[in-house]
Amino acid sequence: MEAPSAAVIASKAGTGPQAFRFFTSLVLQESTGLRASTLPVLVKLLREVPDSCIYYHTHYFLLQHHYLTPEPTNDFAYWVAEVLGEGALGELLASIDVMEHASLQSLREVVAGTIEQYLQQNPGARLKFVSAGEEFFFLKSVHVIMPTSYTASTLADFAQVLEHISVRALYFHIFDARLRIGQPTNDFARWFTEQLGLKRLGENVSCLDPYAHTLETLRGILLSLIREELR
């Protein structure tokens, strides 16, 4: 089956806006068996592993710790700072703006490049290593995407459904749509603009930096924007 490029379904009458179908994305974790105990090995493997590894280590933590404020950092930043003890590099990796990267390849480049540059400036960091069991383990995710039973035909319907969908569904329409499937915006913003003709709402939702919020906070912000529009 083709990827749902936009989560819209045809309206029953065949006229008017198409309804929005909510999908969800369930994640199965898989190990590559690759592990790094030093920064040089980490950066070498970073350049070799499949895109799904880069995606996993820069995104899965958002789902895993979605209830925490502030959220922990991405996996690379966490390991470098908390396990290897290179706090300054960890800070640099944590502050990479994922929104600036439209592809996983570009994100891979910036993560690897940040580490390489740091190693040039701090050659002593090349020698640091962690003991067995504390290495960085390269994992990847298998995403199973399926439609939920929820649809919305109007903005009011949409707001009602948004309150109830899982964080995984929210994640799929905001994050998966933008980076993993290569869309420049997110599914919600597109639907508001293209189907409901709500350009301002679409722009406001498209401009949101989802990486700066927990998923529950994001849900709250989206609901506020929609309710404001409904008023």
Binding site: M1, E2, A3, P4, T24, L26, V27, L28, Q29, E30, S31, G33, L34, R35, P50, S52, Q64, H65, H66, Y67, L68, P72, E82, A132, G133, E134, E135, F137, L139, K140, S141, V142, H143, V144, I145, M146, P147, T148, S149, H164, I165, S166, R168, A169, R180
Partner: protein
């Protein structure tokens, strides 16, 4: 309310709804689960809850158990220790017995199913039979910490593992570089079981009274089988260090599993070390003491899990689910459950464990915050509903080779 619906208030209605949607894609698939015991230990506990729920979800699931003579369990225990990295001498006779009993069981059981799900090494040789039905999917589920296995034992098992469609491990550190799919599925706790359900104060008090554990001072507890790898003797050493400066009691509670012949020996060592100390409460609990364990964990000021190695260490999630502050060794799957200084304290030594326990006993507000964070972490990552979802995803993923799987409406 029973069955899946009962999990909605805890895990969330959307989580249960997604689980049901996913299961529709696997309706009527015939699954056989095989492990080594129906009673005692985490695997049996999980299967006891999981099999009925998978059935409710529409899969046709059977649960079979390997049967063997006493010496077979000596051999499998030796394998278990060796895979955990302990030095074990496994003789040719022992390997032969392992193969012989495994093959006899494979002959006895009906393995003609769509999905054959083998747990741990005891039934691993069953995979020799897969050639009779090539379209069936075979999964090997390893519940053991195999991060640093004895190489002789691993070399013996590896050819069998490679014949499965996928191996499933509890933590990334357990995976190896192997030419096969290695899935990661953490185990889980059941929030509705007697071991984890809510208890009121009267129920907790009654259990403590019956077990003769006074509540006159803080209680430090470790719940685990009397197994060398859980380091119960080390726990007593930790307690004695803590007690030098903080008045408290130690509860060491556990039992032994039917597939663990070493339990009695370890228990004797622990008894010897604790002898004559009225503040150490050594509780040898019979199987099905779930309410007692629940109450002991809830009555604890700090819960300790000072394991040397761990398959996963689910007692940590049990304690966190009760919002108890936890001090635990950074081994096996424990670092997945405890984020250091956020949802508990990770330690690497007796000295470190004693220091951490003292920190928590001396800072109740900090201890409370760790416990509350821990409960949320478990809610989102280590409940049975997440585990069921992962198993269904694993079954489904065996039909695909891509990293993204789109399922049609159903």
């Amino acid at each position: 309310m029973s069955g899946l619906a009962a999990y909605e208030p805890i895990a969330g209605p959307s989580t249960v709804a997604e689980l049901i949607q996913l299961a529709k894609r696997l309706a009527d698939r015939r699954v056989v689960m095989v492990n080594s015991t129906r009673v005692g230990g985490g695997v049996a506990e999980i299967l006891n809850r999981m099999v009925p729920l998978l059935t409710e979800l529409g899969l046709d699931v059977r649960w079979e158990v390997v049967e063997g003579p006493g010496p077979f369990y000596r051999v499998t225990k030796a394998f278990h220790n060796a895979l955990h990295g302990a030095p074990e001498l496994i003789s040719q006779e022992m390997y032969d017995l392992f193969l012989e009993v495994g093959r006899a069981n494979a002959e006895r059981l009906d393995l003609d199913q769509d999905i054959v799900f083998i747990h741990d090494p005891q039934p691993i040789v069953f995979v020799e039979r897969r050639k009779r039905r090539p379209r069936a999917r075979w999964l090997w589920r390893c519940h053991i910490d195999v991060s640093r296995p004895d190489q002789v034992a691993w070399s013996f098992l590896e050819p069998f593992i490679l014949r499965y469609d996928a191996a499933v491990y509890s933590a990334p550190a357990f995976t190896q570089r192997m030419a096969m799919r290695q899935l990661l599925i953490a185990p889980s706790i059941d929030p509705l079981s007697d071991k984890n359900r809510e208890l009121n104060t009267e129920e907790v008090d009654a259990v403590l009274q019956r077990l003769e554990v006074p509540r006159d001072r803080p209680i430090v507890t470790q719940v685990s089988r009397f197994d060398r790898l859980k380091d119960p003797v080390g726990v007593i050493d930790v307690f004695r260090r803590v007690r030098r400066s903080v008045k408290c009691r130690l509860v060491l509670a556990g039992g032994t599993a039917t597939d663990d012949p070493e339990g009695e020996e370890v228990l004797a060592q622990v008894r010897d070390r604790a002898k004559g100390d009225p503040e150490i409460h050594l509780l040898l609990l019979p199987p099905n003491s779930d309410v007692e364990i629940n109450a002991l964990q809830r009555a604890s000021t700090v819960v300790l899990q000072k394991s040397i190695r761990e398959g996963f260490g689910l007692t940590v999630s049990e304690a966190l689910w009760k919002a108890r502050p936890v001090v635990a060794s950074a081994v096996g799957g424990i670092p997945l459950q405890v984020q250091h200084r956020y949802s508990g304290l990770l330690v690497h030594s007796i000295e470190g464990a004693a220091h951490a326990v003292k920190q928590l006993l001396g800072n109740p507000a900090y201890a409370k915050r760790l416990g509350e964070n821990g409960r949320e972490h478990v809610r989102h990552n280590f409940l049975l509903t997440r585990h069921l979802t992962d198993y269904l995803l694993a079954f489904l993923s065996l039909d695909y080779t891509t990293d993204t799987i789109f399922l049609n409406g159903h």
